[in-house]
C-alpha cells in the first residue's frame, strides 16, 4: 500500500527531478528506526535460532553438533504423539469454530430479542485470560468433585475422567478452546454477513427463496472471506496452541495430550536448549508448510468466484 501512495505522489509532484528521487519523497534513513527494530527483534533472533538449533548450548557456551538435535527430536517418542495431537487439535478446534461460529453468527444477525446482549455474551470468553479459563475448567472437569460430573450424576450418567482419561484428555481441552475462541469466529462471521448487501436478500425473497436457500446460496458463498479468515486464524492458533493445554493437563496423563509446543517447552524446562531450539525451528517449518499453501488455496478460490 505504501508503495502505491509513494509512486503516485512522486510522479504527480516533481516531474523534473532525477528518477531516483522521484520514487520516494522520504529520505532512506526514515526507514532506519523501523529497520533496526525489525532487525534486532525479529531478523537476528530468527537467524540465530537457526544456528543455535545446530548446537548443544547452555546460556554461556555452545558447541556445534550438526543435525544431531533434529535427529534426536524426531526420535523423541512424545514427539510423534505430539505431532498427531497437534494436527487433531488444530483441525478439531478450527472446524468446530467455523461451524459453530457460522451458526451463531446467522442466529445473532437475525431479528431476535436482546441481540446486542447475546452478541456480547458470546464474545465474553475471548476476553478472559486463557490460564484462568484453563484452571476453572480443570476444577469443573474434575472426575470426582467437578461440577460437570456431579451434574451428570444427578441424571444418572457417570461422566468420564475428562482430563484424566487418556482417550478424552485432548478433546476435552479442545472443547474448552472452542468455547473460549468461538466468540472471535462469530464476530468475524457477523461482520461478513452484515456486509452482504441487502439487495441480494430482497431479490431472493422476490424469487421465493426460503431460509435454507438464503443460507445455502447467499450467506455461505458471500461470507467466504470470513470463512477463510476464521480457518486461517484458528488453524494457526490451534497448531501453536500451548497455554490452554499446559494450564489444563500439562500434556498428561503421561504424554497423551502433548502437542508440539508442549514437547518443546518441556525440553526447554529440562535445560535442553539446543533441542528445544531445534523443536521451534521444526514447528516454524510445519506451521509454514501447512498454512502457506492453505492460505494460497483459499484465497485463489475467492478470486475465481
Amino acid at each position: 500500500m505504501s508503495v502505491l501512495l509513494e509512486t503516485r505522489d512522486g510522479t504527480a509532484r516533481d516531474t523534473g527531478s532525477p528518477p531516483a528521487r522521484v520514487r520516494s519523497p522520504y529520505p532512506h534513513w526514515f526507514y532506519l528506526p523501523a529497520a533496526i527494530v525489525y532487525g534486532v527483534l525479529f531478523l537476528i533472533p530468527t537467524f540465530a535460532s537457526f544456528y543455535f538449533s545446530l548446537t548443544r548450548w547452555t546460556l554461556f557456551e555452545s558447541h556445534f553438533i550438526g543435525l544431531d538435535n533434529f535427529v534426536q527430536f524426531f526420535q523423541e517418542p512424545a514427539l510423534v504423539k505430539g505431532f498427531v495431537n497437534t494436527l487433531i487439535y488444530g483441525v478439531v478446534t478450527s472446524g468446530a469454530k467455523v461451524v459453530l461460529g457460522l451458526l451463531l453468527a446467522v442466529l445473532l444477525t437475525s431479528r431476535i430479542v436482546a441481540r446486542g446482549y447475546l452478541r456480547s455474551v458470546v464474545f465474553f470468553p475471548v476476553l478472559v485470560s486463557t490460564i484462568g479459563v484453563g484452571l476453572t475448567f480443570t476444577v469443573l472437569m474434575n472426575p470426582e468433585q467437578g461440577l460437570i460430573n456431579q451434574t451428570l450424576a444427578t441424571v444418572g450418567i457417570e461422566g468420564p475422567g475428562w482430563l484424566t482419561d487418556p482417550s478424552y484428555a485432548l478433546l476435552s481441552v479442545a472443547l474448552v478452546d472452542v468455547w473460549k475462541g468461538v466468540g472471535l469466529a462469530t464476530l468475524i462471521y457477523i461482520a461478513g454477513i452484515v456486509s452482504i448487501p441487502q439487495e441480494y436478500f430482497e431479490a431472493a425473497r422476490v424469487d421465493g427463496a426460503g431460509a435454507w436457500a438464503n443460507f445455502r446460496h447467499l450467506i455461505l458463498p458471500l461470507a467466504r472471506p470470513a470463512t477463510v479468515t476464521v480457518i486461517i486464524l484458528s488453524l494457526i492458533g490451534g497448531l501453536r496452541s500451548f497455554d490452554l493445554i499446559w494450564a489444563m493437563t500439562r500434556g498428561g496423563p503421561g504424554f497423551t495430550s502433548d502437542v508440539i509446543a508442549s514437547v518443546i517447552y518441556k525440553q526447554y524446562q529440562a535445560g535442553f536448549y539446543g533441542l528445544s531450539t531445534a523443536g521451534n525451528v521444526v514447528l516454524f517449518v510445519v506451521v509454514t508448510a501447512i498454512v502457506l499453501p492453505l492460505s494460497r488455496f483459499l484465497n485463489r478460490k475467492e478470486v475465481e468466484l
Binding site: R56, T58, F60, E144, T164, P253, G254, G271, F272
Partner: protein, 437 residues
C-alpha cells in the same frame, strides 16, 4: 539550584542502578553500617518456615547482618528460575537448592563459591558431603534434614486388619489383597501432581544397589540401563502391578498430594509411596495423627536386604556473584546453618522430618513416628542407601510422566523403562558426560 537538580538526578540514577545490580534487593533500607543478605528458598511450607527460622535466629545473633528470605516456585519452574538467575549473575546472595544431580546441573565449579576451607566442612555427614561435592570441591551447607523415599502407612489400619510390616514385595502385595477385601484403598497414588508418581521407582534404589552394588557407577558411564537390569526394572513393574491389580485409590488419576495425605490420615487409604518429608504437611492438617502414620522401605525381593532409600538434605549455596563483604556475611550465615544452633533454629521453626546431616545436632524427643521409623533403618548398618540422584548426575526430566503412564496402565513397564533410558541420554549429553555422545 542547578547543582541540587543535578545531585537529585545523580542519586536517582544511582538508586536505579543499585536496584538492578545483582542480589541487592532491599539494600536501600539498612542504615549503612550493616550488610543485607538475600536468601532464596523454595516456597514449600517446611522449607520456607525453616528459612525464616534460620534468618530470625541468625539476625538476632549477628547485629551487623540482616538475612531476608525470598521464595521461589518448586519443581521444574523453580529449576529454570535458579539456572537463569545464576547464568545472568542475578542470583540472591545465598540460595537453597537440591543437592545431588540437580546441583551438578548448575555447573557448580563455575557458578558457586566452594566452601572446603570453612571450619564446619569437617563436621558434615559423609552422605551429604558426597551429594554436594563436584570435582573434589564442596559447595553447600545442609539445609533441612534427610528424607526417605518410602511407603508411609496408617498404623491404625494395619492394627485393625492384623497386618505386619512387609519386608518383601510379595508380603506387601498380600497385605494389599487383605486391605482391598476390607474396603480400604491399599495404595494411594496422586497423579494429579505428577512428581508424586516416581517413588516406586526412585525409592526402590536401595534394592537396586543391594542386588548390584556398582549400578550407579555403571549407569553414569552409560553401561547399565533400567530396561536391561532386572533389579532396576522392578520399580517400573511394581508400579504396573499395583495398578493392574486394582489396588490404587479410585481417584488416583486426578488426586493431588493434599487429597492423598487426607486419605492416608483418615485411613481410607493404607499405603502412600512418597517422600517422608510430606509428613509435616500431613501433621499441619491432622496434628493428632503424629503417631498413627508410620514408615517402611519399599520392599524388594529379599527380606534380608530390606532397607531404606534416603534423600540427602538440600544445600544452601553461595553463588559466584556474591562478593566482598556480602561474601563474608554469606560464609558466616552458612556456618550458622551448619551448626547445632542452626539445626535447633530449623527444628524450632517446623516439624522435623528426619535426621540432620551435621554432627552434634540432636533430634527433639517429640518427633513423629515416621522419623522414629526412619532412624531405625539409618542407624542399622547397611539398611539404607542414598537415592540414585545423589550418586549420579544422570536423571531424566520425563520420569514423572513415564511413571504416570506405567502407573495408569497406558504404557507397559519394560517399555516405560526403555523410554526412561532414552530420556536420560539427553541429560547426560547436555552435561557432556563421557561415554554418552
Amino acid at each position: 539550584m542547578r547543582l541540587k537538580i543535578a545531585l537529585a538526578a545523580f542519586t536517582a540514577a544511582a538508586l536505579a542502578l543499585s536496584g538492578c545490580s545483582a542480589g541487592s534487593l532491599g539494600s536501600s533500607d539498612d542504615d549503612g553500617s550493616g550488610v543485607t543478605l538475600s536468601f532464596m528458598v523454595d516456597n514449600s511450607d517446611t522449607n520456607s518456615k525453616m528459612a525464616e527460622g534460620l534468618a530470625k535466629e541468625f539476625n538476632a545473633k549477628n547485629p551487623g547482618i540482616v538475612v531476608k528470605v525470598e521464595t521461589r516456585p518448586q519443581g521444574t519452574e523453580g529449576d529454570n528460575l535458579v539456572k537463569t538467575r545464576l547464568s545472568t549473575g542475578d542470583m540472591t546472595d545465598v540460595f537453597q537448592y537440591n543437592s545431588g544431580s540437580l546441583m551438578q546441573a548448575l555447573a557448580p565449579t563455575k557458578n558457586l563459591v566452594a566452601v572446603d576451607d570453612q571450619p564446619w566442612a569437617g563436621k558434615l555427614d559423609e552422605n551429604f558431603k558426597t551429594s554436594v561435592t563436584s570435582e573434589q570441591k564442596l559447595f553447600g551447607a545442609p539445609f533441612g534434614t534427610y528424607n526417605a523415599g518410602a511407603i508411609l502407612y496408617n498404623r491404625e489400619v494395619y492394627q485393625k486388619n492384623g497386618l505386619r510390616v512387609p519386608t518383601t514385595w510379595d508380603e506387601f502385595m498380600a497385605n494389599n489383597a487383605k486391605l482391598k477385601a476390607a474396603g480400604v484403598a491399599p495404595v494411594i497414588q496422586s497423579y494429579g501432581e505428577t512428581w508424586t508418581s516416581q517413588l516406586f521407582v526412585l525409592g526402590d534404589f536401595h534394592n537396586v544397589t543391594a542386588a548390584q552394588p556398582d549400578f550407579a557407577e555403571k549407569y553414569t558411564a552409560n553401561q547399565a540401563k533400567y530396561a536391561t537390569t532386572p533389579a532396576a526394572l522392578a520399580g517400573f513393574e511394581h508400579l504396573q502391578e499395583v495398578h493392574a491389580a486394582g489396588y490404587t485409590n479410585k481417584d488416583f488419576a486426578s488426586a493431588k498430594l493434599n487429597d492423598a495425605v487426607e486419605q492416608l490420615a483418615k485411613g481410607t487409604g493404607a499405603h502412600y509411596p512418597i517422600l517422608s518429608g510430606i509428613i509435616s504437611q500431613l501433621l499441619g492438617t491432622f496434628p493428632e495423627e503424629k503417631d498413627t502414620i508410620g514408615l517402611f522401605p519399599i520392599p524388594g525381593d529379599d527380606a534380608a536386604k530390606n532397607g531404606l532409600t534416603v534423600w540427602a538434605p538440600a544445600g544452601a549455596y553461595i553463588p559466584a556473584s556474591t562478593t566482598g563483604e556480602k561474601l563474608d556475611a554469606a560464609r558466616k550465615f552458612l556456618a550458622f546453618i551448619a551448626s547445632p544452633e542452626g539445626c535447633a533454629a530449623q527444628a524450632n521453626a517446623t516439624v522435623i522430618n528426619g535426621p540432620f546431616a551435621v554432627q552434634g545436632c540432636t533430634l527433639p524427643d517429640d518427633v513423629p513416628q515416621v522419623v522414629k521409623d526412619m532412624q531405625t533403618y539409618i542407624d542399622k548398618p547397611g539398611a539404607s542407601s542414598l537415592a540414585l540422584e545423589f550418586l549420579s548426575p544422570v536423571k531424566g526430566p520425563a520420569l514423572e510422566q513415564i511413571c504416570v503412564e506405567v502407573g495408569s496402565g497406558i504404557r507397559k513397564a519394560p517399555d516405560g523403562a526403555k523410554l526412561y533410558d532414552e530420556d536420560v541420554k539427553k541429560q547426560a549429553q547436555q552435561l557432556g558426560l563421557p561415554g554418552w555422545s
